[in-house]
Symmetry: C2
Subunit: 338 residues, 2 copies
C-alpha cells in the first residue's frame, strides 16, 4: 500500500510518517491491514534526516499547488490513502489573505480534483481545525461545543478549513474519494521552532522555558484552550483512516478529543514539572493580534462522536509536558521534578 | 445608485428588477434611500421585453464567469449593490458536477474577487438556499430547522451554496464587500416554463393544471415542503440589502420565512381554487431521482431571525395560488372559484 502525506515534512506530517513506519501496516476504512510499501512526503521543504534515510520514504519536493497542477499523476495515482495536512496556518492567513486562499482553499480543491480525475478513489484524511468554531459578539459560541454545533469561523483560516470540509463531504458523497475530515485541536507541546500559527505560543510557552529560553505568553491566564498532545492528535488522524464506514458515521467533520484547560492552567502544570525557574521565563506581554484570533476559539469541546471511536483526550497537561520532556531530551535544559 | 443583478433575466432576477424599478430607490444597510439610476442585468439570455425597454435597465449578456474574468470593470465597479442570484439549479448540479462547480462555486468566488480587486466594497446579497440543509440516514435533520442548525448538505448544489455563504462571510469580515446571504425557500408558484431544479414540480403541479395541462407530481403527498411565494422571496432579498448592520446581525446566512406544508396540502389548496378539474390533471408518477433530492430537504424551518427583521411567511398556500392567478391571468385557463 502506498500513502501520501501532504505537509509531510512538517511536525505532524513527519510524526505521522514515523508512526506509520513503526506500525508497518495500515487498515483503510475497516479493511484488513496491508503492509505499507511507500510513504511519499509532499512538502516544500525536505523531511527530517531520519525519514529521508528510510527506504520506504519518498520525497516530492515543491509547492503543493504546483505539484497538483503538473500532468504527472505520481504519487497521487498510486496512493491508497492521502493524509492532507499541508496548510498555511492561522496567523499567516489572517495577514496574507491570498496565501491562505491558495494554500488552503485552492489546494484542497485541487487535491480532490486530482483524485477525481485519476479515478483512484483514495481514502483522504483532511486535517481541519477547531478554528472552524469562532466566537463573535454578533454570534456567541455556546459554552460547550458539540458535534452538531454550527461553525461560524472568525478567521480566514477557519473559513478555508470549513470550506475544505464541505468539499471533502461532497467529493465523498459523489464517490470521487473516500473522505474523512478531522478537526484538530490546539496541538501542544510542539517541538522545534515557532511557526506562524496564532496558536504557536501554546507550545512555545512550554517548550522555550524548558530549554532555558524566555517565551511570550501573549494572552491572559484565564484564556481557555482545547489542547491535544501530538500523540493524541496522530492517534485521531490514523483512526480516521482506519474506522469502518458505519462506525465513522456522517460525512461531517469529526471533532477530535481535547483537554479543556487555560493558559494559567498550562503555566501551573509547567511549574509543577520544572519549577518556578520555568515560569519565571514567561513574558506576560499582551499581543492584541494574537489575542484577537485566539479569543474567538472555543475552549471546551465535547467530542462524543470521537469517544464512540475509542478516542480519548489527554488525561492532564502535566503528563503532556512530561511526555514532551521524555521525547525531546536534547531540547530540555531545566531540571525536571519527579 | 447603480445596481447589478446576476441571473437578472431569470424569474427572480427579473421580478427583483421590476420591484426595484417601481420603488425607484433603494436603501443600503440602513443608509438613506437613494434613487436607482441604473440596473444592469447580467445573464446568458436577454431579459423580458418590459425590462429591456426600460431606460434604466442595462443588459450584460454572456456567461457570468467569462464576464467576471474579463478585464472590463463595468458594471461591477459602479455597482453600489450586487444581487447575486445566478446559479445552476439543484437537478443540473447533481447531473453535471462540473457545471455546478463552475456556475456556483467558482462564479461566486470570482464575483467576490472582482469586488475585492476593484476596492468598490459593494453591498452583495447572495441567494443561498434551504438546500444547504440535508437529511441523511447517517445524520438526520432535527424536526425543526432553526437559525443555528448545522447545515449538512446532501446535494452538490447545497454544498456549493453553503461554500458561497462561507466566502461571503469572510470577504465581508475582511471588509472586501458588505455581504448578506439569504437562504431562499422553495419558491412557488413560479410562472413560465420548467427549469432544471429538482424543486421545479412544486410550481409545475400548480401552474400547469391551471393552464389546463397535465403535470407531474413525482413525490408522495406527505412530502413536506417549506414554501415561499415569489412576492415574499423578493421581499426577503430586498430587506437583506436594506437592513442596518446591527439589525442584520451575524454574517451567517439568514433563513427566509416559509410556509410549512406538504405536497398533498398544496394539491388540496389547488382543488379549493380551481376544483377537481385541476387536480385531475396531476400525474402521480414517482420520479426516484427527484425524490432522492427533495426528500433530503427540510419541511419546517423556524425563521426567528427573519421575523426580527419584520419578514413573515405567506399566510396560506391558497392565497399564494390566488396571487399567481391574479398576476398571470393569461396563463390560467381553468375556471377559478371565488
Amino acid at each position: 500500500m502506498q500513502v501520501v502525506i501532504t505537509g509531510g515534512a512538517g511536525f505532524l506530517g513527519a510524526r505521522l510518517a514515523r508512526t506509520l513506519l513503526v506500525a508497518g501496516r495500515l487498515s483503510l476504512a475497516g479493511a484488513p491491514a496491508e503492509a505499507i510499501s511507500r510513504i511519499t512526503l509532499v512538502d516544500r521543504v525536505a523531511p527530517p534526516a531520519d525519514l529521508a534515510g528510510d527506504p520506504r520514504i519518498a520525497v516530492a519536493l515543491g509547492d503543493l499547488n504546483d505539484q497538483l497542477a503538473a500532468p504527472d499523476a505520481s504519487p497521487w495515482r498510486e496512493a491508497a490513502a492521502i493524509f492532507h495536512l499541508a496548510a498555511a496556518v492561522s496567523g499567516e492567513c489572517e495577514a496574507d489573505f491570498d496565501l491562505g486562499m491558495r494554500s488552503n482553499f485552492a489546494a484542497t480543491h485541487a487535491l480532490l480534483e486530482k483524485a477525481r480525475a485519476l479515478g483512484s478513489r483514495p481514502l483522504v484524511v483532511f486535517a481541519s481545525s477547531l478554528a472552524v468554531f469562532g466566537d463573535s459578539p454578533e454570534q456567541p459560541l455556546p459554552p460547550v461545543i458539540e458535534d452538531h454545533t454550527l461553525p461560524t469561523p472568525q478567521t480566514s483560516y477557519g473559513i478555508q478549513k470549513f470550506i475544505g470540509e464541505q468539499l471533502m463531504a461532497d467529493y465523498t458523497r459523489k464517490g470521487f474519494v473516500r473522505g474523512r475530515s478531522v478537526r484538530l485541536m490546539t496541538v501542544s507541546v510542539r517541538p522545534g521552532r515557532p511557526n506562524g500559527a496564532a496558536s504557536g505560543f501554546f507550545s512555545g510557552m512550554i517548550r522555550e522555558p524548558l530549554a532555558g529560553l524566555r517565551a511570550a505568553c501573549p494572552v491572559p491566564d484565564e484564556t481557555p484552550v482545547a489542547i491535544a498532545s501530538p500523540a493524541r492528535t496522530i492517534e485521531g488522524i490514523v483512526r480516521a483512516a482506519e474506522a469502518g464506514d458505519a462506525e465513522w458515521g456522517p460525512r461531517t467533520a469529526l471533532n477530535l478529543p481535547s483537554l479543556a484547560t487555560t493558559v494559567g492552567g498550562m503555566a501551573a502544570a509547567l511549574e509543577r514539572v520544572a519549577g518556578k525557574a520555568a515560569t519565571d521565563l514567561l513574558d506576560r506581554a499582551p499581543d492584541p493580534a494574537i489575542r484577537r484570533i485566539v479569543k474567538t476559539w472555543p475552549g471546551h469541546i465535547e467530542a462524543r462522536r470521537a469517544r464512540g471511536l475509542g478516542l480519548l483526550p489527554d488525561a492532564d497537561f502535566e503528563t503532556v509536558i512530561r511526555d514532551y520532556v521524555r521525547e525531546n531530551p536534547d531540547a530540555v535544559k531545566l531540571l525536571i521534578r519527579a
